[in-house]
Symmetry: C2
Subunit: 288 residues, 2 copies
DNA sequence: CATAATCTCTGACTTAGATCAGATATCTCT
DNA sequence: AGAGATATCTGATCTAAGTCAGAGATTATG
Protein backbone atom coordinates (compact mmCIF):
# COMPACT_ATOMS: atom_id res chain seq x y z
CA UNK A 1 0.00 0.00 0.00
CA UNK A 2 1.23 3.46 -0.85
CA UNK A 3 0.18 4.86 2.43
CA UNK A 4 1.23 2.28 4.89
CA UNK A 5 3.32 3.31 7.83
CA UNK A 6 6.66 2.24 6.44
CA UNK A 7 6.18 4.35 3.36
CA UNK A 8 5.27 7.25 5.60
CA UNK A 9 8.46 6.89 7.58
CA UNK A 10 10.49 6.71 4.39
CA UNK A 11 8.90 9.84 3.03
CA UNK A 12 9.70 11.60 6.26
CA UNK A 13 13.30 10.53 5.96
CA UNK A 14 13.48 11.85 2.43
CA UNK A 15 11.99 15.19 3.41
CA UNK A 16 14.23 15.57 6.41
CA UNK A 17 17.42 14.61 4.63
CA UNK A 18 16.65 16.92 1.75
CA UNK A 19 16.30 19.72 4.28
CA UNK A 20 19.38 18.74 6.21
CA UNK A 21 21.38 21.56 4.76
CA UNK A 22 18.83 23.87 6.28
CA UNK A 23 18.78 22.00 9.58
CA UNK A 24 22.45 21.73 10.26
CA UNK A 25 24.20 24.82 11.45
CA UNK A 26 27.36 23.75 9.66
CA UNK A 27 26.00 24.74 6.28
CA UNK A 28 24.94 28.17 7.40
CA UNK A 29 27.23 29.74 4.85
CA UNK A 30 30.06 31.42 6.61
CA UNK A 31 32.50 30.23 3.99
CA UNK A 32 33.99 27.47 6.04
CA UNK A 33 33.94 23.78 5.22
CA UNK A 34 31.68 21.57 7.28
CA UNK A 35 34.48 19.83 9.16
CA UNK A 36 36.08 23.03 10.38
CA UNK A 37 32.72 24.52 11.32
CA UNK A 38 31.84 21.43 13.34
CA UNK A 39 35.12 21.53 15.25
CA UNK A 40 34.72 25.24 15.94
CA UNK A 41 31.23 24.59 17.19
CA UNK A 42 32.28 21.68 19.38
CA UNK A 43 34.94 23.84 21.03
CA UNK A 44 32.44 26.65 21.46
CA UNK A 45 30.10 24.22 23.17
CA UNK A 46 32.77 23.61 25.76
CA UNK A 47 34.47 20.51 24.46
CA UNK A 48 38.06 21.58 24.87
CA UNK A 49 39.81 18.24 24.96
CA UNK A 50 41.03 17.35 21.47
CA UNK A 51 40.48 13.63 21.98
CA UNK A 52 36.97 14.28 23.20
CA UNK A 53 36.11 16.34 20.11
CA UNK A 54 37.63 13.65 17.96
CA UNK A 55 35.46 10.98 19.56
CA UNK A 56 32.36 13.16 19.44
CA UNK A 57 32.72 14.04 15.78
CA UNK A 58 34.13 10.67 14.78
CA UNK A 59 37.25 12.09 13.17
CA UNK A 60 40.59 10.54 12.32
CA UNK A 61 43.44 11.94 14.38
CA UNK A 62 45.23 13.20 11.27
CA UNK A 63 42.17 14.98 9.96
CA UNK A 64 41.44 16.43 13.38
CA UNK A 65 44.95 17.75 13.65
CA UNK A 66 44.74 19.43 10.25
CA UNK A 67 41.37 20.99 10.99
CA UNK A 68 42.78 22.42 14.22
CA UNK A 69 45.83 23.80 12.38
CA UNK A 70 43.47 25.43 9.90
CA UNK A 71 41.42 27.07 12.63
CA UNK A 72 44.63 28.16 14.35
CA UNK A 73 45.85 29.79 11.15
CA UNK A 74 42.56 31.61 10.87
CA UNK A 75 43.26 32.87 14.38
CA UNK A 76 40.05 31.35 15.76
CA UNK A 77 41.47 28.69 18.04
CA UNK A 78 44.52 28.12 20.19
CA UNK A 79 45.68 24.82 21.63
CA UNK A 80 47.74 24.15 24.73
CA UNK A 81 48.98 20.95 26.33
CA UNK A 82 46.61 19.71 29.03
CA UNK A 83 47.71 20.63 32.53
CA UNK A 84 47.55 17.09 33.91
CA UNK A 85 48.82 15.19 30.87
CA UNK A 86 51.03 16.94 28.36
CA UNK A 87 50.31 14.35 25.65
CA UNK A 88 46.78 15.60 25.38
CA UNK A 89 45.95 19.04 24.12
CA UNK A 90 43.07 21.30 24.91
CA UNK A 91 41.71 23.74 22.38
CA UNK A 92 39.96 26.96 23.20
CA UNK A 93 38.51 29.82 21.20
CA UNK A 94 40.38 33.07 20.80
CA UNK A 95 38.34 36.24 20.91
CA UNK A 96 37.94 36.12 17.14
CA UNK A 97 36.92 32.47 17.44
CA UNK A 98 34.38 33.35 20.08
CA UNK A 99 32.89 35.95 17.75
CA UNK A 100 32.79 33.45 14.90
CA UNK A 101 31.14 30.83 17.11
CA UNK A 102 28.57 33.38 18.25
CA UNK A 103 27.86 34.21 14.62
CA UNK A 104 27.06 30.56 13.94
CA UNK A 105 24.88 30.43 17.02
CA UNK A 106 23.04 33.57 16.02
CA UNK A 107 22.40 32.25 12.53
CA UNK A 108 21.17 28.91 13.85
CA UNK A 109 18.94 30.59 16.39
CA UNK A 110 17.51 32.91 13.77
CA UNK A 111 16.81 29.99 11.51
CA UNK A 112 15.09 28.01 14.23
CA UNK A 113 13.09 31.09 15.18
CA UNK A 114 12.06 31.61 11.56
CA UNK A 115 10.87 28.05 11.35
CA UNK A 116 8.79 28.49 14.48
CA UNK A 117 7.46 31.85 13.33
CA UNK A 118 6.32 30.35 10.04
CA UNK A 119 4.41 27.61 11.82
CA UNK A 120 0.77 27.99 12.81
CA UNK A 121 1.14 25.84 15.96
CA UNK A 122 4.65 26.20 17.35
CA UNK A 123 4.00 24.19 20.51
CA UNK A 124 2.57 21.32 18.48
CA UNK A 125 5.63 21.43 16.25
CA UNK A 126 7.95 21.31 19.24
CA UNK A 127 6.04 18.41 20.74
CA UNK A 128 6.23 16.54 17.42
CA UNK A 129 9.96 17.23 17.19
CA UNK A 130 10.46 15.78 20.65
CA UNK A 131 8.60 12.61 19.65
CA UNK A 132 10.72 12.22 16.53
CA UNK A 133 13.98 13.04 18.30
CA UNK A 134 13.27 10.40 20.95
CA UNK A 135 12.32 7.81 18.33
CA UNK A 136 15.59 8.46 16.51
CA UNK A 137 17.86 8.84 19.46
CA UNK A 138 16.42 7.01 22.46
CA UNK A 139 19.49 4.78 22.58
CA UNK A 140 21.56 7.88 23.33
CA UNK A 141 19.55 9.00 26.38
CA UNK A 142 21.91 9.51 29.32
CA UNK A 143 21.30 10.02 33.02
CA UNK A 144 23.08 12.85 34.73
CA UNK A 145 23.30 14.01 38.31
CA UNK A 146 22.47 17.68 38.79
CA UNK A 147 21.48 20.07 41.54
CA UNK A 148 17.67 20.18 41.85
CA UNK A 149 17.81 23.97 41.56
CA UNK A 150 19.62 23.72 38.22
CA UNK A 151 17.63 25.39 35.42
CA UNK A 152 16.99 22.14 33.55
CA UNK A 153 15.97 20.36 36.74
CA UNK A 154 13.50 23.14 37.44
CA UNK A 155 12.10 22.82 33.96
CA UNK A 156 11.47 19.11 34.61
CA UNK A 157 9.90 19.80 37.98
CA UNK A 158 7.67 22.42 36.38
CA UNK A 159 6.50 19.91 33.80
CA UNK A 160 5.98 17.37 36.57
CA UNK A 161 3.80 19.72 38.59
CA UNK A 162 1.86 20.72 35.47
CA UNK A 163 1.18 17.07 34.72
CA UNK A 164 -0.04 16.44 38.26
CA UNK A 165 -2.27 19.50 37.89
CA UNK A 166 -3.82 17.98 34.79
CA UNK A 167 -4.23 14.53 36.23
CA UNK A 168 -5.34 15.06 39.80
CA UNK A 169 -9.10 15.63 39.86
CA UNK A 170 -8.74 18.71 42.04
CA UNK A 171 -5.57 19.98 40.39
CA UNK A 172 -2.23 20.34 42.14
CA UNK A 173 -0.63 23.17 44.05
CA UNK A 174 3.04 22.66 44.98
CA UNK A 175 2.81 24.92 47.98
CA UNK A 176 0.22 22.60 49.58
CA UNK A 177 2.47 19.61 49.12
CA UNK A 178 5.41 18.89 51.39
CA UNK A 179 8.15 21.36 50.65
CA UNK A 180 10.45 20.18 47.84
CA UNK A 181 13.46 20.88 50.04
CA UNK A 182 16.02 20.85 47.28
CA UNK A 183 18.99 20.65 49.62
CA UNK A 184 17.84 17.22 50.80
CA UNK A 185 18.33 15.93 47.22
CA UNK A 186 21.99 16.94 47.00
CA UNK A 187 25.06 14.85 47.79
CA UNK A 188 26.04 13.68 50.25
CA UNK A 189 22.51 13.52 51.69
CA UNK A 190 20.53 12.68 48.54
CA UNK A 191 20.60 12.73 44.74
CA UNK A 192 18.75 14.33 41.86
CA UNK A 193 18.93 12.75 38.40
CA UNK A 194 18.00 13.96 34.93
CA UNK A 195 17.49 11.93 31.75
CA UNK A 196 18.81 13.85 28.73
CA UNK A 197 18.94 13.29 24.98
CA UNK A 198 21.41 15.68 23.36
CA UNK A 199 20.59 18.04 26.20
CA UNK A 200 16.83 17.68 25.80
CA UNK A 201 15.40 16.95 29.26
CA UNK A 202 13.22 13.84 29.15
CA UNK A 203 12.86 12.82 32.76
CA UNK A 204 13.93 13.24 36.36
CA UNK A 205 13.82 11.64 39.78
CA UNK A 206 15.04 12.64 43.20
CA UNK A 207 16.19 10.86 46.34
CA UNK A 208 15.76 12.67 49.64
CA UNK A 209 18.40 11.71 52.18
CA UNK A 210 17.44 11.14 55.78
CA UNK A 211 13.92 9.86 55.18
CA UNK A 212 15.14 7.83 52.15
CA UNK A 213 12.24 9.02 50.07
CA UNK A 214 12.05 8.81 46.29
CA UNK A 215 10.41 11.96 44.89
CA UNK A 216 9.50 13.67 41.62
CA UNK A 217 9.67 10.77 39.21
CA UNK A 218 8.71 12.28 35.86
CA UNK A 219 9.13 11.21 32.22
CA UNK A 220 8.33 13.52 29.31
CA UNK A 221 5.31 12.42 27.25
CA UNK A 222 7.48 11.99 24.14
CA UNK A 223 9.73 9.53 25.97
CA UNK A 224 7.11 7.30 27.55
CA UNK A 225 7.08 3.65 26.68
CA UNK A 226 10.85 3.32 26.37
CA UNK A 227 11.42 2.06 29.90
CA UNK A 228 12.94 5.33 30.99
CA UNK A 229 11.15 5.49 34.33
CA UNK A 230 12.39 2.00 35.14
CA UNK A 231 15.88 3.12 34.24
CA UNK A 232 15.62 6.21 36.42
CA UNK A 233 14.35 4.14 39.34
CA UNK A 234 17.15 1.64 38.96
CA UNK A 235 19.68 4.46 38.97
CA UNK A 236 18.16 6.05 42.06
CA UNK A 237 18.18 2.71 43.88
CA UNK A 238 21.84 2.25 42.96
CA UNK A 239 22.54 5.72 44.28
CA UNK A 240 20.71 4.87 47.51
CA UNK A 241 22.85 1.77 47.97
CA UNK A 242 25.90 3.94 47.43
CA UNK A 243 24.63 6.22 50.18
CA UNK A 244 24.05 3.19 52.42
CA UNK A 245 20.32 3.84 52.68
CA UNK A 246 18.83 0.49 53.67
CA UNK A 247 15.18 1.10 52.81
CA UNK A 248 13.41 3.44 50.40
CA UNK A 249 9.91 4.86 50.66
CA UNK A 250 7.69 6.83 48.33
CA UNK A 251 4.19 8.19 48.08
CA UNK A 252 2.08 8.35 44.92
CA UNK A 253 -1.49 8.62 43.76
CA UNK A 254 -3.93 6.17 42.21
CA UNK A 255 -4.60 8.83 39.55
CA UNK A 256 -1.18 7.84 38.18
CA UNK A 257 -1.77 4.14 37.49
CA UNK A 258 1.37 3.67 35.32
CA UNK A 259 3.48 4.79 38.27
CA UNK A 260 1.67 2.55 40.75
CA UNK A 261 2.01 -0.38 38.36
CA UNK A 262 5.72 0.32 37.85
CA UNK A 263 6.37 0.22 41.60
CA UNK A 264 4.40 -2.99 42.05
CA UNK A 265 6.33 -4.65 39.23
CA UNK A 266 9.76 -3.63 40.44
CA UNK A 267 9.84 -4.99 43.94
CA UNK A 268 8.07 -2.28 45.93
CA UNK A 269 5.49 -3.26 48.52
CA UNK A 270 2.53 -1.16 49.51
CA UNK A 271 2.63 0.18 53.08
CA UNK A 272 0.32 2.34 55.18
CA UNK A 273 0.33 6.13 54.87
CA UNK A 274 3.50 7.56 56.38
CA UNK A 275 2.86 11.30 55.97
CA UNK A 276 0.00 13.79 56.00
CA UNK A 277 0.59 15.23 52.54
CA UNK A 278 -2.87 15.92 51.06
CA UNK A 279 -2.10 14.59 47.56
CA UNK A 280 -0.79 11.01 47.81
CA UNK A 281 -3.14 8.12 48.55
CA UNK A 282 -0.79 5.19 47.94
CA UNK A 283 2.47 4.43 49.75
CA UNK A 284 5.33 2.03 49.00
CA UNK A 285 8.62 0.89 50.41
CA UNK A 286 11.49 -1.21 49.13
CA UNK A 287 14.31 -2.81 51.12
CA UNK A 288 17.62 -2.67 49.31
CA UNK B 1 10.19 31.29 26.70
CA UNK B 2 10.64 31.78 22.97
CA UNK B 3 14.30 31.20 23.62
CA UNK B 4 13.45 27.91 25.14
CA UNK B 5 11.55 26.87 22.05
CA UNK B 6 14.42 27.89 19.81
CA UNK B 7 16.78 25.82 21.90
CA UNK B 8 14.38 22.89 21.54
CA UNK B 9 14.33 23.22 17.77
CA UNK B 10 18.10 23.40 17.67
CA UNK B 11 18.42 20.29 19.80
CA UNK B 12 16.05 18.52 17.46
CA UNK B 13 18.17 19.56 14.51
CA UNK B 14 21.27 18.24 16.21
CA UNK B 15 19.67 14.91 17.01
CA UNK B 16 18.25 14.49 13.54
CA UNK B 17 21.42 15.43 11.72
CA UNK B 18 23.47 13.12 13.88
CA UNK B 19 21.11 10.31 12.86
CA UNK B 20 21.01 11.33 9.22
CA UNK B 21 23.30 8.55 8.18
CA UNK B 22 20.72 6.20 9.58
CA UNK B 23 17.85 8.05 7.94
CA UNK B 24 19.11 8.36 4.43
CA UNK B 25 18.87 5.32 2.25
CA UNK B 26 22.01 6.36 0.41
CA UNK B 27 24.24 5.35 3.27
CA UNK B 28 22.69 1.93 3.57
CA UNK B 29 26.02 0.38 2.73
CA UNK B 30 25.85 -1.28 -0.63
CA UNK B 31 29.34 -0.10 -1.46
CA UNK B 32 28.28 2.67 -3.76
CA UNK B 33 29.01 6.36 -3.30
CA UNK B 34 26.11 8.59 -2.34
CA UNK B 35 25.86 10.36 -5.70
CA UNK B 36 25.55 7.17 -7.71
CA UNK B 37 23.07 5.69 -5.23
CA UNK B 38 20.91 8.80 -5.45
CA UNK B 39 20.83 8.72 -9.23
CA UNK B 40 20.01 5.01 -9.26
CA UNK B 41 17.23 5.67 -6.80
CA UNK B 42 15.84 8.59 -8.77
CA UNK B 43 15.67 6.46 -11.90
CA UNK B 44 14.07 3.63 -9.97
CA UNK B 45 11.46 6.09 -8.71
CA UNK B 46 10.50 6.71 -12.30
CA UNK B 47 12.49 9.82 -13.14
CA UNK B 48 13.86 8.80 -16.52
CA UNK B 49 14.68 12.14 -18.06
CA UNK B 50 18.30 13.01 -17.40
CA UNK B 51 17.64 16.75 -17.15
CA UNK B 52 14.86 16.09 -14.68
CA UNK B 53 17.11 13.98 -12.44
CA UNK B 54 19.75 16.65 -12.68
CA UNK B 55 17.32 19.33 -11.56
CA UNK B 56 15.89 17.13 -8.81
CA UNK B 57 19.26 16.22 -7.34
CA UNK B 58 20.82 19.58 -8.09
CA UNK B 59 23.77 18.16 -10.01
CA UNK B 60 26.13 19.72 -12.50
CA UNK B 61 25.72 18.35 -16.01
CA UNK B 62 29.27 17.07 -16.09
CA UNK B 63 28.92 15.27 -12.77
CA UNK B 64 25.57 13.84 -13.80
CA UNK B 65 27.03 12.53 -17.01
CA UNK B 66 29.87 10.83 -15.21
CA UNK B 67 27.58 9.26 -12.62
CA UNK B 68 25.44 7.85 -15.42
CA UNK B 69 28.53 6.47 -17.21
CA UNK B 70 29.54 4.83 -13.97
CA UNK B 71 26.14 3.19 -13.51
CA UNK B 72 26.19 2.11 -17.16
CA UNK B 73 29.59 0.48 -16.69
CA UNK B 74 28.22 -1.36 -13.69
CA UNK B 75 25.47 -2.59 -16.01
CA UNK B 76 22.73 -1.07 -13.88
CA UNK B 77 21.44 1.61 -16.21
CA UNK B 78 21.04 2.24 -19.92
CA UNK B 79 20.39 5.55 -21.61
CA UNK B 80 18.70 6.28 -24.92
CA UNK B 81 17.95 9.50 -26.74
CA UNK B 82 14.45 10.76 -26.01
CA UNK B 83 11.92 9.92 -28.72
CA UNK B 84 10.66 13.47 -29.20
CA UNK B 85 13.95 15.35 -28.79
CA UNK B 86 17.21 13.59 -29.53
CA UNK B 87 19.24 16.12 -27.56
CA UNK B 88 17.73 14.87 -24.35
CA UNK B 89 18.38 11.40 -23.02
CA UNK B 90 16.28 9.13 -20.91
CA UNK B 91 17.79 6.63 -18.49
CA UNK B 92 16.21 3.42 -17.38
CA UNK B 93 17.22 0.54 -15.16
CA UNK B 94 18.45 -2.73 -16.61
CA UNK B 95 17.34 -5.91 -14.90
CA UNK B 96 20.45 -5.83 -12.73
CA UNK B 97 19.72 -2.18 -11.96
CA UNK B 98 16.17 -3.06 -11.03
CA UNK B 99 17.49 -5.67 -8.60
CA UNK B 100 19.95 -3.21 -7.11
CA UNK B 101 17.24 -0.59 -6.72
CA UNK B 102 14.97 -3.14 -5.05
CA UNK B 103 17.80 -4.02 -2.67
CA UNK B 104 18.01 -0.37 -1.58
CA UNK B 105 14.27 -0.25 -1.18
CA UNK B 106 14.24 -3.41 0.89
CA UNK B 107 16.97 -2.13 3.18
CA UNK B 108 15.25 1.21 3.64
CA UNK B 109 11.92 -0.44 4.32
CA UNK B 110 13.47 -2.78 6.84
CA UNK B 111 15.09 0.13 8.61
CA UNK B 112 11.87 2.12 8.72
CA UNK B 113 10.03 -0.95 9.97
CA UNK B 114 12.62 -1.48 12.70
CA UNK B 115 12.20 2.08 13.85
CA UNK B 116 8.45 1.65 14.05
CA UNK B 117 8.73 -1.70 15.78
CA UNK B 118 10.95 -0.18 18.45
CA UNK B 119 8.42 2.55 19.16
CA UNK B 120 5.67 2.21 21.76
CA UNK B 121 3.19 4.36 19.80
CA UNK B 122 3.82 3.99 16.07
CA UNK B 123 0.81 6.03 14.98
CA UNK B 124 1.80 8.89 17.26
CA UNK B 125 5.30 8.76 15.81
CA UNK B 126 3.97 8.89 12.27
CA UNK B 127 1.71 11.80 13.11
CA UNK B 128 4.65 13.65 14.65
CA UNK B 129 6.78 12.94 11.60
CA UNK B 130 4.11 14.41 9.37
CA UNK B 131 4.03 17.57 11.45
CA UNK B 132 7.80 17.94 11.28
CA UNK B 133 7.98 17.10 7.57
CA UNK B 134 5.39 19.76 6.78
CA UNK B 135 7.14 22.33 8.95
CA UNK B 136 10.39 21.67 7.12
CA UNK B 137 9.08 21.26 3.63
CA UNK B 138 5.80 23.14 3.27
CA UNK B 139 7.36 25.32 0.58
CA UNK B 140 7.79 22.20 -1.53
CA UNK B 141 4.14 21.11 -1.42
CA UNK B 142 2.89 20.59 -4.98
CA UNK B 143 -0.58 20.14 -6.42
CA UNK B 144 -1.11 17.27 -8.81
CA UNK B 145 -4.05 16.15 -10.89
CA UNK B 146 -4.98 12.49 -10.42
CA UNK B 147 -7.88 10.16 -11.03
CA UNK B 148 -10.15 10.12 -7.97
CA UNK B 149 -9.90 6.33 -7.90
CA UNK B 150 -6.11 6.52 -7.67
CA UNK B 151 -4.82 4.84 -4.49
CA UNK B 152 -3.51 8.07 -2.97
CA UNK B 153 -6.74 9.91 -3.81
CA UNK B 154 -8.70 7.19 -2.07
CA UNK B 155 -6.49 7.48 0.97
CA UNK B 156 -7.29 11.21 1.13
CA UNK B 157 -11.00 10.58 0.68
CA UNK B 158 -10.88 7.98 3.43
CA UNK B 159 -9.26 10.48 5.77
CA UNK B 160 -11.83 13.07 4.73
CA UNK B 161 -14.75 10.77 5.51
CA UNK B 162 -13.15 9.78 8.81
CA UNK B 163 -12.81 13.41 9.78
CA UNK B 164 -16.44 14.10 8.93
CA UNK B 165 -17.37 11.09 11.01
CA UNK B 166 -15.53 12.56 13.98
CA UNK B 167 -16.89 16.08 13.55
CA UNK B 168 -20.53 15.60 12.60
CA UNK B 169 -22.60 15.09 15.75
CA UNK B 170 -24.33 12.04 14.30
CA UNK B 171 -21.27 10.69 12.50
CA UNK B 172 -20.96 10.32 8.75
CA UNK B 173 -21.79 7.48 6.38
CA UNK B 174 -20.63 7.95 2.79
CA UNK B 175 -23.36 5.76 1.40
CA UNK B 176 -26.05 8.13 2.73
CA UNK B 177 -24.38 11.07 1.05
CA UNK B 178 -24.73 11.76 -2.65
CA UNK B 179 -22.70 9.22 -4.58
CA UNK B 180 -19.08 10.33 -5.03
CA UNK B 181 -19.36 9.57 -8.74
CA UNK B 182 -15.66 9.55 -9.46
CA UNK B 183 -16.04 9.73 -13.22
CA UNK B 184 -17.59 13.19 -12.91
CA UNK B 185 -14.27 14.42 -11.42
CA UNK B 186 -12.14 13.35 -14.39
CA UNK B 187 -11.13 15.39 -17.44
CA UNK B 188 -12.70 16.56 -19.58
CA UNK B 189 -15.78 16.82 -17.34
CA UNK B 190 -14.15 17.64 -14.01
CA UNK B 191 -10.90 17.56 -12.06
CA UNK B 192 -9.47 15.96 -8.92
CA UNK B 193 -6.41 17.51 -7.25
CA UNK B 194 -4.00 16.25 -4.61
CA UNK B 195 -1.55 18.25 -2.50
CA UNK B 196 1.67 16.29 -2.01
CA UNK B 197 4.91 16.81 -0.13
CA UNK B 198 7.55 14.39 -1.39
CA UNK B 199 4.68 12.06 -2.17
CA UNK B 200 3.05 12.46 1.24
CA UNK B 201 -0.64 13.23 0.62
CA UNK B 202 -1.63 16.37 2.52
CA UNK B 203 -4.87 17.44 0.89
CA UNK B 204 -7.35 17.05 -1.92
CA UNK B 205 -10.26 18.71 -3.66
CA UNK B 206 -12.57 17.71 -6.50
CA UNK B 207 -14.55 19.53 -9.17
CA UNK B 208 -17.62 17.77 -10.53
CA UNK B 209 -18.34 18.71 -14.13
CA UNK B 210 -21.90 19.32 -15.23
CA UNK B 211 -23.25 20.71 -11.95
CA UNK B 212 -20.00 22.64 -11.39
CA UNK B 213 -19.78 21.48 -7.79
CA UNK B 214 -16.66 21.66 -5.64
CA UNK B 215 -16.42 18.52 -3.48
CA UNK B 216 -14.17 16.77 -0.97
CA UNK B 217 -11.96 19.63 0.18
CA UNK B 218 -9.67 18.10 2.76
CA UNK B 219 -6.35 19.09 4.34
CA UNK B 220 -4.37 16.75 6.58
CA UNK B 221 -4.18 17.87 10.23
CA UNK B 222 -0.41 18.23 10.04
CA UNK B 223 -0.73 20.70 7.14
CA UNK B 224 -3.42 22.98 8.51
CA UNK B 225 -2.65 26.62 8.96
CA UNK B 226 -0.36 26.92 5.94
CA UNK B 227 -3.03 28.22 3.57
CA UNK B 228 -3.20 24.92 1.72
CA UNK B 229 -6.98 24.83 1.46
CA UNK B 230 -6.93 28.31 -0.04
CA UNK B 231 -4.34 27.14 -2.53
CA UNK B 232 -6.38 24.06 -3.44
CA UNK B 233 -9.50 26.19 -3.93
CA UNK B 234 -7.62 28.65 -6.12
CA UNK B 235 -6.34 25.79 -8.25
CA UNK B 236 -9.78 24.26 -8.59
CA UNK B 237 -11.25 27.62 -9.61
CA UNK B 238 -8.51 28.00 -12.22
CA UNK B 239 -9.32 24.54 -13.50
CA UNK B 240 -13.02 25.45 -13.66
CA UNK B 241 -12.20 28.52 -15.73
CA UNK B 242 -10.16 26.30 -18.02
CA UNK B 243 -13.21 24.07 -18.39
CA UNK B 244 -15.36 27.16 -19.12
CA UNK B 245 -17.57 26.55 -16.09
CA UNK B 246 -19.15 29.96 -15.36
CA UNK B 247 -20.38 29.39 -11.82
CA UNK B 248 -19.29 27.03 -9.02
CA UNK B 249 -21.40 25.67 -6.18
CA UNK B 250 -20.64 23.73 -3.04
CA UNK B 251 -22.32 22.42 0.07
CA UNK B 252 -20.79 22.25 3.52
CA UNK B 253 -21.71 22.02 7.16
CA UNK B 254 -21.63 24.48 10.03
CA UNK B 255 -19.82 21.82 12.06
CA UNK B 256 -16.82 22.72 9.88
CA UNK B 257 -16.45 26.40 10.74
CA UNK B 258 -12.95 26.82 9.22
CA UNK B 259 -14.34 25.71 5.88
CA UNK B 260 -17.36 28.02 6.06
CA UNK B 261 -15.09 30.89 7.02
CA UNK B 262 -12.71 30.13 4.16
CA UNK B 263 -15.55 30.28 1.63
CA UNK B 264 -16.89 33.53 3.03
CA UNK B 265 -13.47 35.11 2.87
CA UNK B 266 -12.67 34.06 -0.67
CA UNK B 267 -15.57 35.47 -2.62
CA UNK B 268 -18.24 32.81 -2.14
CA UNK B 269 -21.79 33.86 -1.35
CA UNK B 270 -24.24 31.81 0.65
CA UNK B 271 -27.23 30.53 -1.33
CA UNK B 272 -30.28 28.43 -0.47
CA UNK B 273 -30.10 24.65 -0.29
CA UNK B 274 -29.73 23.18 -3.76
CA UNK B 275 -29.79 19.46 -2.98
CA UNK B 276 -31.38 17.01 -0.55
CA UNK B 277 -28.17 15.51 0.78
CA UNK B 278 -28.74 14.85 4.50
CA UNK B 279 -25.36 16.12 5.71
CA UNK B 280 -24.82 19.69 4.44
CA UNK B 281 -26.63 22.63 6.02
CA UNK B 282 -24.81 25.51 4.34
CA UNK B 283 -24.56 26.23 0.61
CA UNK B 284 -22.37 28.56 -1.44
CA UNK B 285 -21.82 29.69 -4.99
CA UNK B 286 -19.16 31.72 -6.76
CA UNK B 287 -19.32 33.30 -10.21
CA UNK B 288 -16.04 33.09 -12.05
C1' DC C 1 18.84 28.09 -44.50
C1' DA C 2 21.70 30.24 -41.20
C1' DT C 3 22.01 31.28 -36.50
C1' DA C 4 21.10 30.83 -31.82
C1' DA C 5 19.74 28.03 -28.13
C1' DT C 6 19.60 23.55 -25.75
C1' DC C 7 21.30 19.24 -23.98
C1' DT C 8 24.82 16.07 -23.15
C1' DC C 9 29.43 14.75 -22.93
C1' DT C 10 34.57 15.09 -22.10
C1' DG C 11 38.79 16.72 -20.09
C1' DA C 12 41.18 19.45 -16.74
C1' DC C 13 41.09 21.14 -12.30
C1' DT C 14 39.81 22.04 -7.27
C1' DT C 15 38.26 21.08 -2.65
C1' DA C 16 36.74 18.38 1.24
C1' DG C 17 37.20 14.52 3.53
C1' DA C 18 39.21 10.28 4.75
C1' DT C 19 43.02 6.80 5.50
C1' DC C 20 47.51 5.08 6.68
C1' DA C 21 52.24 4.75 8.16
C1' DG C 22 55.34 6.42 10.83
C1' DA C 23 57.66 10.35 13.82
C1' DT C 24 57.64 12.62 18.27
C1' DA C 25 56.62 13.54 22.88
C1' DT C 26 54.69 12.06 27.05
C1' DC C 27 52.74 9.05 30.41
C1' DT C 28 52.10 4.52 33.11
C1' DC C 29 53.71 0.59 35.10
C1' DT C 30 57.02 -2.45 36.67
C1' DA D 1 65.29 3.44 34.28
C1' DG D 2 63.14 1.03 30.55
C1' DA D 3 59.17 -1.07 27.96
C1' DG D 4 55.06 -0.33 26.25
C1' DA D 5 50.94 2.45 25.75
C1' DT D 6 48.86 6.87 24.48
C1' DA D 7 48.02 11.41 22.08
C1' DT D 8 49.15 14.24 18.60
C1' DC D 9 51.28 15.55 14.45
C1' DT D 10 53.13 15.23 9.52
C1' DG D 11 53.43 13.60 4.88
C1' DA D 12 51.67 10.78 1.25
C1' DT D 13 47.85 9.14 -1.02
C1' DC D 14 42.96 8.26 -2.26
C1' DT D 15 37.96 8.92 -3.26
C1' DA D 16 33.86 11.64 -3.84
C1' DA D 17 32.12 15.61 -5.27
C1' DG D 18 31.81 19.76 -7.50
C1' DT D 19 33.32 23.43 -11.18
C1' DC D 20 34.41 25.20 -15.63
C1' DA D 21 35.29 25.59 -20.49
C1' DG D 22 34.42 23.96 -24.57
C1' DA D 23 33.09 20.22 -28.20
C1' DG D 24 29.38 17.88 -30.66
C1' DA D 25 24.73 16.86 -31.85
C1' DT D 26 20.14 18.40 -32.20
C1' DT D 27 16.32 21.56 -32.21
C1' DA D 28 14.01 26.12 -32.45
C1' DT D 29 13.66 30.52 -34.62
C1' DG D 30 13.82 34.34 -37.66
Amino acid sequence: MTNDLIARVRRFNRTVTSEVGALDMSFLGRGRPLGAARVLNAIGHGRGDVAEIRAYLGLDSGLMSRLLRGLEQEGLVETLPAADDARRRVARLTEAGEREYRAYETLSDAQAAAMLARHPHPEALIAAMDVVAVALGHARIVLEEVHPRDAVARYCLGEYYAELGRRFPGGFDVSLSRDPDAEEMVRPRGVFLLALLDGLPLGCVGLKGGTGEVKRLWVAPAARGFGLSKRLMRAIEDAARGLAIPCLRLDTNSALPEAVQLYRRTGWTEIPRFNDDPYPDTFFEKRL
